[in-house]
Symmetry: C2
Subunit: 342 residues, 2 copies
Amino acid sequence: MSSRTEIASLGEFGLIDHLTRNNETHHASTVLSIGDDAAVLDHFGKQIVVTTDLLIEGVHFDMMYTPLRHLGYKSVVVNLSDVCAMNATPAQVTLSVGISNRFSVEALEEFYEGVYAACEKYNVDLVGGDTSTSDKGFIISVTAIGEVAPDRFVKRDGAKKGDLVCVSGNLGSAYLGLLLMEREKKIFLESPAVQPDLESQKYILQRLLKPEARKDIIDFLEEKEIIPTSMIDVSDGLSSDMLHICRRSCVGCVLYEEKIPVAEEARQFAFKLSLDPTACALSGGEDYELLFTIKQEDYDKIVLNEQISVIGYITDVDEGEHIITRSGNKHAITAQGWNAFK
Amino acid sequence: MSSRTEIASLGEFGLIDHLTRNNETHHASTVLSIGDDAAVLDHFGKQIVVTTDLLIEGVHFDMMYTPLRHLGYKSVVVNLSDVCAMNATPAQVTLSVGISNRFSVEALEEFYEGVYAACEKYNVDLVGGDTSTSDKGFIISVTAIGEVAPDRFVKRDGAKKGDLVCVSGNLGSAYLGLLLMEREKKIFLESPAVQPDLESQKYILQRLLKPEARKDIIDFLEEKEIIPTSMIDVSDGLSSDMLHICRRSCVGCVLYEEKIPVAEEARQFAFKLSLDPTACALSGGEDYELLFTIKQEDYDKIVLNEQISVIGYITDVDEGEHIITRSGNKHAITAQGWNAFK
């Protein structure tokens, strides 16, 4: 080859865009292809969604502080979250693992316990997979399949001017949990005798190690007969995922700092580290909450749900993407999300 | 943990069986779960099959002699082969890759060229995936989805006494291609100046590096209105895959050495290495031919198809699994297939 372009120069999303820029689909059953939380397939007139994720030790998780049971649980949940982000109901998963000989059968059993626990909680079936040896590290690939009523799936590209921007639960906790674990790991490596006191930080740790997919929100939206105009799950941080919606939908947005939900435990720990909790919500990833837009007329239907916060509204594309701080200043939102290739 | 069981002590199939022994499925749409070439899902009364494979550098392929374009092609094809082995038609694939920084964007483009070439050849759509960094090595995970007419899927467990055992194409070539590449790699590492002459071995190399899924056989069977009683794709070697059918179907079998199809190029190269070509067919993997059983009355429909060989018949389970050699001796068939954990 005559030229060499470094992968890091494109970034994760740039790389996918680049490699799939000429991808054409021909199959009658392909309704929606690459570029959203999941693909939508129409087999014989009925629709399913499919999504897949690859988790690699040392990149996506650190075995030093990730219990295997939690890892199994999370591997399934992050895929179910993508299914939910399409407004679909998870139904099946397949699981492939690559493992080195340093793992015992008992260790793998623990991992599978977590997988089964997630399957049971979300009423999905583990229907297939592949088990392979790996020279180094633990590799996990999960594919999830969900069902959606025909043409009720929700993409990232439907937000319209005036729509309300909503987010479920709270943001930033998983990132703060990660900072906590990185700190404790460092202390442990320097002074193995020191016992960490993690009890008071249980909440942010759980958000990191055992996230949940917001199927309850999907069920609530269905019950209230709300179809969001756009939706994504917050895996890369609020700013990055909000920008995905804006760019796909060709719109701008205004968010209000004071409306962004942050858990009290996360706020306290952020202050301890002299970090801005809002910055953690904007740039931290892995919260797996749902970020979605709804029409203004649907506001009354969601206002009483404490699990949903309205954090801003959609504007014309010319107005750009901004956040209004507590002090009333206006800042441009920039993608500070997780870049796997940095 | 109080005890440690080495993964190698269970082997690949033993490990999967062990980890999934308590797996129960609850979803109404799960028709067939773990244990066959693919799962079968019934969404709203229509059926699809799903299968997934994980390919890891150094375990499943050697970058030293695997062109990236071929690797992309093969990664897709091995999954389509599993879809075909269910008597289904491939429709979509998802692709996740984990790559280290030693790969350039151009290298990854080559890989994707192969992926797209396979998609085009088999008329399937690439609909999703995930791209991630990897500390070490190239990791590929593909999931394929196919369509099957309701209840026309073919499992491994339906072979009945008296059924004919059939195989498509020929066997053993991919394994001999692998031996050739391993030999050339050794020569190259010892004397980098020596140029290999691989021209005369083109066929077996192609069988290793660029296998095909036998969708043509699935189409032929449909045209002739034959539904095999059982089917599997030959990925682990004829003996191992034949034993899968026998054990699942609770039957025995008799195969005839002289009927097992081996390509002339493969036979010649086996002789060069002082290997028995039949042993290569029995124990070598990765041919991705279809091994299936049909009722005797369907014999007339397949006899003129040169791509299908009848290699034996199904017996009572008490009679075990045997092969009759050219010299008339009878040997038990043992699983000599590829074990990823050895």
